[in-house]
């Protein structure tokens, strides 16, 4: 019975066990530190020191540095050709593909799928431990799809953001729901959560989609143990707040500024970083004259209060839908003989920005792609030069396309090479801008587009290695279809990723030469991880085509429409003695 009428039904997990712990081999001297850490529950201290714990993949990006790099090197460029699948897990939920980054905590893998299912698997065998199924919402904001990109783990709980804009905490051992908090009515805001939450200290922090809706974006923090709301940071300042004057009239109420990709945290500076998406209407800016803060910006917040410490806006008054929303990679660099605590942020515009992460000052920017005509360049102070803004009612040829010079899927940084590995998408669009009245919570694009090949040749993509400071390209691996999976770099000298056709491959991090590949049956759109259980290194990748962008690609490559969707995890390892 329900006293209130109709809270969504309570569905616990099918409990097949109680959160198995993998054996910890203290005998191996090199593993003593990880083992000591691994014995403890995941808490703030353990998350801060995740880079000392290579057996696990504790946060969405691996560690707060967001490198998507592992010091594990049992699998390396010398032996990767012997890599073979050791288990596969099929979730069966294929609508929306599988876009997540699995987490690994002490031998257990936690992975979320489309439609807000979460699975706990034995990371060594792939055997299911529990399965949680969030009740299917009556209606979801259509623009943002059915997928989910990952969970967070801490304090004995697994955190999930949902299609109907709730944050949910599950018991890590059983998968039973512990609390659920509605962020805001999804029906009303036209926004929801597809990204992985981030745990910082005792808080679980989550962003929302909604940047292409008439909605005012924000970031929220909840007490991790109770789900009680702690703070909200509005990505668009309200009346009386600094920055409000960068919005004309009432446009701030419907100005987008979503926070749809997971941010990160620097424990030393005690700053929370998040990248804010595009202003809405995406393509028509006439009703929102001004810079439109804090859209297309990096914001640094006090994690305890959500108060803004600094911001840096990459694209004032965006009219191309070029979110700054992607990953924020923390790098300590030597620049002009000076040590700088920097952050690197690739943007949908196809440019990468480098900022001082202590104060937000501009350190540089460089392009990931050649198909780029929205600006002529970026000046020495970070100013955009030669803006090519589409005109209302006229067809404009704009590069990169709405799909971005890169998609959200994340790059990787290897401290061994000192290079940043990222995909780049060479494609354009014919854009027709039109003025549009906002309708709260409804799509608010202000135009239509049709993908197009660049003038210089056929649309394609690449995975390349770059000097993170100068953007100098070290090598490039080309692909005829858009590469839409994240990169994984390892101390074994490898960079791993996958393609639309289902090929998962390992490249030599130094040369870009392909060393190994395996067909997983469905295209790659998620984030592969690596971990070890009992001293054996595994590489696990989601396999499952079917995202928004995957659908969009059929405008240029109709044959991609024939590629199968899927939703499985493949785990690879080297053969053990006797195998």
């Amino acid at each position: 019975m329900t006293a209130t009428g109709k809270p969504a039904p309570f569905r616990g997990a099918s409990d097949d066990g109680d959160g198995r712990r993998a054996p910890c081999l203290l005998a191996l001297a090199a593993l003593i530190v990880p083992c000591l850490l691994a014995g403890a529950e995941v808490d703030s201290e353990r998350l801060n020191r995740a880079d000392e714990d290579p057996a696990n993949w504790l946060t969405y990006y691996g560690t707060y540095k967001s490198w998507r790099y592992s010091p594990l090197d049992r699998i390396n460029r010398g032996n990767v050709e012997a890599l073979r699948p050791v288990w596969a897990f099929e979730s069966g939920i294929t609508d929306g593909g599988l876009q997540a980054a699995p987490l690994i905590v002490d031998g257990v893998m936690y992975v979320s799928t489309a439609w807000n299912h979460v699975f706990a698997l034995d990371a060594a065998s792939g055997e299911q431990i529990w399965h949680f199924e969030y009740p299917e919402p009556e209606q979801i904001p259509a623009t943002y799809g059915t997928w989910n990109r990952g969970v967070a783990v801490a304090y004995g709980l697994v955190f999930l953001g949902t299609l109907d804009n709730h944050v949910v905490a599950l018991d890590r051992a059983t998968g039973e729901e512990v609390w659920r908090t509605e962020v805001e009515s999804a029906k009303q805001c036209g926004c929801n959560i597809t990204s992985a939450p981030l745990v910082v200290k005792d808080l679980v922090i989550t962003g929302v989609t909604g940047g292409d809706s008439a909605h005012r974006g924000y970031l929220n923090a909840y007490d991790a143990r109770t789900g009680r709301h702690r703070w909200r940071f509005w990505a668009i300042p309200g009346p009386g707040e600094p920055g409000h004057e960068t919005w004309a009239g009432d446009s701030w109420k419907y100005g987008g500024g979503s926070t749809w990709v997971t941010g990160t945290y620097d424990p030393e500076l005690d700053l929370l970083y998040w990248a804010v998406g595009n202003p809405a209407a995406d393509f028509y800016g006439g009703d929102r004259e001004g810079d439109n803060l804090y859209t297309d910006s990096i914001v640094a917040l006090d994690p305890d209060t959500g108060e803004l410490q600094w911001h840096y806006q990459q694209i004032p008054h965006d009219v191309w839908d070029y979110d700054s929303a992607y990953e924020i990679v923390l790098l300590d660099l030597e620049l002009g003989g000076k040590k700088r605590r920097a952050l690197l942020n690739p943007s949908k515009s196809g440019h990468v920005w480098l900022l001082d992460r202590a104060d937000g000052s501009f350190l540089g920017a460089w392009p990931l792609v050649q198909a780029s005509n929205w600006i002529e360049g970026i000046g020495p102070g970070g100013e955009l030069l030669g803006r090519n803004e589409p005109e209302v009612g006229k067809e404009a040829f704009v590069c990169p396309s709405i799909g971005g010079g890169r998609s959200w899927n994340h790059g990787a940084y290897s401290p061994d090479t000192g290079w940043f590995y990222s995909t780049g998408l060479e494609w354009c669009q014919v854009l027709t801008v039109r003025r549009e009245e906002p309708r709260e919570g409804m799509p608010f694009f202000g135009g239509e587009f049709q993908l197009a090949h660049p003038k210089e040749g056929k649309a394609h993509s690449h995975l390349s290695a770059y000097d993170p400071v100068t953007g100098e390209r070290k090598w490039q691996y080309k692909h005829k279809y858009p590469l839409l999976a994240s990169q994984l770099a390892t101390a074994g000298g490898l960079v791993l990723s996958g393609d639309a056709t289902g090929r998962f491959f390992a490249l030599d991090a130094a040369t870009g030469r392909e060393l190994w590949s395996f067909r997983t049956g469905s295209g790659h759109r998620g984030s592969a991880v690596t971990y070890s259980v009992g001293g054996r290194q595994f590489i696990a990748t989601p396999s499952g085509w079917g995202s928004a962008l995957a659908g969009l690609t059929t405008q240029l490559w109709p044959e991609i429409g024939e590629l199968p969707s899927g939703s499985s995890i493949f785990a690879f390892a080297l053969p053990e003695d006797g195998e």
Binding site: A3, G96, A142, G145, R180, T226, E437
Partner: protein, 273 residues
């Protein structure tokens, strides 16, 4: 729903009563514009229905009423939402007319004329007085984190944590309603007495009971707005009691001015008629 949509609904009223010719160039042009704003967008059906993530809609064959029905109801289990109550009924028919115009067999003759009669829906929202319509906007104002709609549902919008205020408004006058909003602890609605749980861990959870199973109690925790729905294992409960008090947060007079509260009351009273 914004005032803009409410205004559209008002406009839709008289038009909805007459038969619609699905081949009317005016209606198709209207549908094309609505399609560009709501259907082709971003990642869905693509410009002119050429497909993106959603299926291609052009160059197919459709039954007009089936197409209308899918648009209004959505397709459960897919990303296709229902547009009922989101865009006016006439606009759904305009979109239908536009998609039909792209199809391999556009309707003609009698099959192209739709008598809206039964389908046309009078909208309660369109009937609200200007004051009540403003009250509705305030009730659901997303710019206020502690708005009424966080815990109360009216006409399918908002979240049903607390009592149905439209029902409550039927048995109270304006003054009483306003007093309950400003001074919530003065009384409590039947069935919404606060449940207080003291847990073995030392924690305290107090709020509105949502559900009770053999093993769990689910409570909307009133310690925060929005209230988390806490699933507490019965074996973790040390003490449990019902308190004759409301879980509604105090301080709504800081969220809304007294004239705004008067508008909200007007909205609730009119909705309850």
């Amino acid at each position: 729903m914004t005032r803009t949509v409410a205004a559209l609904l008002l406009l839709a009223g008289p038009l909805a009563a007459s038969p619609l010719d699905l081949t009317s160039p005016e209606l198709i042009a209207d549908g094309a514009e609505q399609f560009a704003r709501s259907c082709s967008v971003g990642y869905c059906h693509g410009s002119e229905g050429k497909a993106a993530r959603g299926p291609a809609l052009r160059e197919r064959s459709w039954d007009p009423r089936e197409l209308y029905r899918i648009t209004v109801e959505g397709l459960p289990g897919t990303s296709m939402p229902g547009w009922k109550g989101v865009i006016p009924d006439r606009s759904v028919w305009a979109v239908t007319a536009y998609v039909l115009s792209l199809s391999t067999e556009p309707p003609s003759g009698a099959s192209a004329v739709i008598d809206l009669g039964a389908e046309a829906e009078a909208s309660d929202r369109a009937d609200l007085s200007p004051g009540a319509a403003l009250g509705r906007d305030l009730f659901f104002d997303l710019q206020r984190e502690r708005r009424c709609g966080v815990c109360h549902e009216v006409d399918g919008l908002g979240t049903p944590v607390g009592p149905n205020l439209v029902v409550a408004a039927r048995s109270m006058n304006e003054r009483e309603l306003a007093r309950h909003i400003v001074r919530p602890r003065a009384s409590v609605a039947y069935g919404f007495e606060q449940l207080e749980l003291r847990l073995r861990s030392g924690d305290r959870v107090a709020g509105v009971l949502a559900e009770e199973t053999e093993t769990h109690v689910r409570v909307f925790d009133a310690a925060s707005v929005p209230p988390p729905l806490r699933s507490v294992r019965k074996r973790d409960i040390r003490e449990r009691r019902n308190r004759e008090r409301s879980s509604m947060p105090r301080g709504m007079n800081k969220v809304y001015s007294s004239s705004e509260i008067a508008k909200i009351v007007e909205f609730l009273r009119e909705s309850g008629r």
